[in-house]
Symmetry: C2
Subunit: 329 residues, 2 copies
């Protein structure tokens, strides 16, 4: 009886071991150069007797969000939130009927909004993102993200995250990596939902921010959101923010646009083996196709430097079996 149990145990052990080897952690990635490069990198830094072994505490991976973890067309989803918010708030602001850029937003006249440039955009963001407390804003974001749908796909925005990237995040974490988001988007716009969607906790989210102020209201402490830019987490700002928030240089970085160029440079210039990755939007049919000439997510310099720096450029159309969750599988 004892011998039988022991044999059964050995058999089970091998069955599990073999299964562990054969389950593909990245099923939505076609076999190809990107998948190979990523799995080779992870194997190299996690193999204990490898000269390139990296202790778990130093396995920091950073991901841009817009265009890297979810779509960003035809406008950044956070802008869609701001525009919806203007419409929601309009009844309390009759003056907006005659006042730009609000008038244009209420008339769905995106041409006029765009013509307002940076100044109009900033005004829209400040009006819709400030003037409340951090807890009130989180609640507003949660309600929007739980109901608003994308005009082209009809999907919830959270259903427009990339299935292959969800798998990559999970694969890295299963290999001892700590995964961070480092986005040009608003830090407090992301935090209310990224834990549920990406399994990235709020303390591992870095982004652009407006200033807040501590106040006691009727003896109750609140953080008031002020209409003043605190930090823009884009381009040269990304390595600055990575240093400020994380305090360690990532060994793995993924982006999709020139806004991620300096983050990729910073992460991959460290000592030892490094991984830099770029999502190249090449799939006009299943998602969007754009790079050098796009005003949103422009990918020009980073694409140019990718080859010399040995960054992995993912051809979305060729390498991704699925784009969004539950689309194929």
């Amino acid at each position: 009886m004892y011998r039988f149990l022991a044999l059964l145990g050995v058999a089970l052990f091998f069955a599990v071991a073999v299964r562990a080897q054969t389950v593909d952690p990245l099923p939505s990635w076609n076999e190809g150069k990107s998948k190979q490069a990523m799995t080779r990198f992870v194997k190299t830094v996690t193999t204990a007797d490898s000269p390139q072994f990296v202790p778990a505490a130093e396995r920091i991976a950073v991901f841009d969000n817009d265009g890297t973890l979810w779509s960003e067309q035809p406008v950044y989803f956070q802008l869609a939130f701001a525009l919806d918010r203007v419409k929601t708030l309009a009844p309390q602001h009759p003056e907006w009927q005659e006042q730009q850029p609000f008038k244009a937003v209420l008339e769905d006249d995106m041409k006029t909004v765009a013509a307002g440039g940076q100044k109009a955009l900033l005004e829209l963001i400040m009006t819709t993102h400030a003037g409340n407390t951090t807890e009130e804003f989180a609640q507003i974001v949660k309600e929007w993200i739980g109901t608003a749908k994308h005009p082209k796909t009809g999907r919830l925005y959270t259903k427009m995250v990339y299935q292959p990237m969800l798998e990559l995040l999970a694969y890295l974490r299963a290999n001892g990596f700590k995964t961070f988001i480092v986005s040009g988007g608003g830090i407090e716009f992301m935090r209310p939902w990224v834990e549920r969607i990406y399994a990235v906790p709020p303390e591992q989210v870095v982004g652009s921010s407006i200033k807040t102020r501590f106040e006691l209201r009727d003896g109750k402490p609140v953080l008031a959101r002020l209409p003043e830019i605190d930090f823009i987490d884009d381009k040269e700002g990304k390595p600055v923010a990575i240093n400020q928030y994380i305090g360690r240089r990532p060994i793995f970085a993924f982006g999709n646009s020139d806004g991620d160029l300096q983050m990729l440079q910073w992460a991959t210039a460290g000592s030892g083996v490094r991984f830099g990755g770029i999502v190249h939007h090449t799939d006009a049919e299943r998602e969007w196709a754009y790079d050098r000439d796009s005003s949103i997510g422009r990918l020009d310099k980073a694409l140019e430097q990718a080859q010399g720096k040995s960054w992995t450029v993912v051809d979305m159309q060729q390498e991704w079996k699925a784009i969004y969750p539950s689309q194929q599988r």
Copy 2:
């Protein structure tokens, strides 16, 4: 034989279980109100069927550093670093022989340094903390912290961390808490050594900061440290920084001075059960005794509010069996 092994296994299981119950996770704390309050709190939030159960992801604990995790007398240890640094750099700055506040530092004339007030202090900090890259500065801190000794105790500064607080940090982590430092001290002064000493990784350290700038030097990216304040993580700044860096309201906060008042208010005003703790420096013999009248680590308003808010005030002299590591045990 099989039955014998099974019985042995059961016996071992119980031995381990009993031992787990009897090993005291806080051996340097005397049995008393603080130890009771902490263990009761931890039990309450970690008991799965407790109405006050808190999921592990939300078990955020924040600790001030100076005076809470290590000593801060007769001057903040970071100021001792700055003064030492002035002396190290003096040969390259002959002009300092005649220029305040440097002249006073070189002559160990602390009265004159203090008389220079905020302005002199800021000049000392900027001169000694900026003008290098983040990697160079980390190296400078590492070298200093590895060798410099405290003038009164003769100990390395890292041997002046509080043994009871090291145990508390470990106890919280063993119960699923994520421990953060939220200090008025410089974030880049702490990060090079806190992981080794407190087992708190750099990405869980929040502090005051100066600005940095991304630069390519001979094609190599660096972050240059600029002589410009970025953020002061003190008083009202602490809840602001907690929100910015962590994005979740802590359920457990520990400080020792009025600089921690707003952090304690913010953490303990959240919903559900909360813990606020204050280290009260009452031990003139083994450490220092100071509160309301101290210019360093002044504890006045926070002490006054402690009772009404049910914060736990630790009487260092009465409640701590040991102050520093390997002192008693």
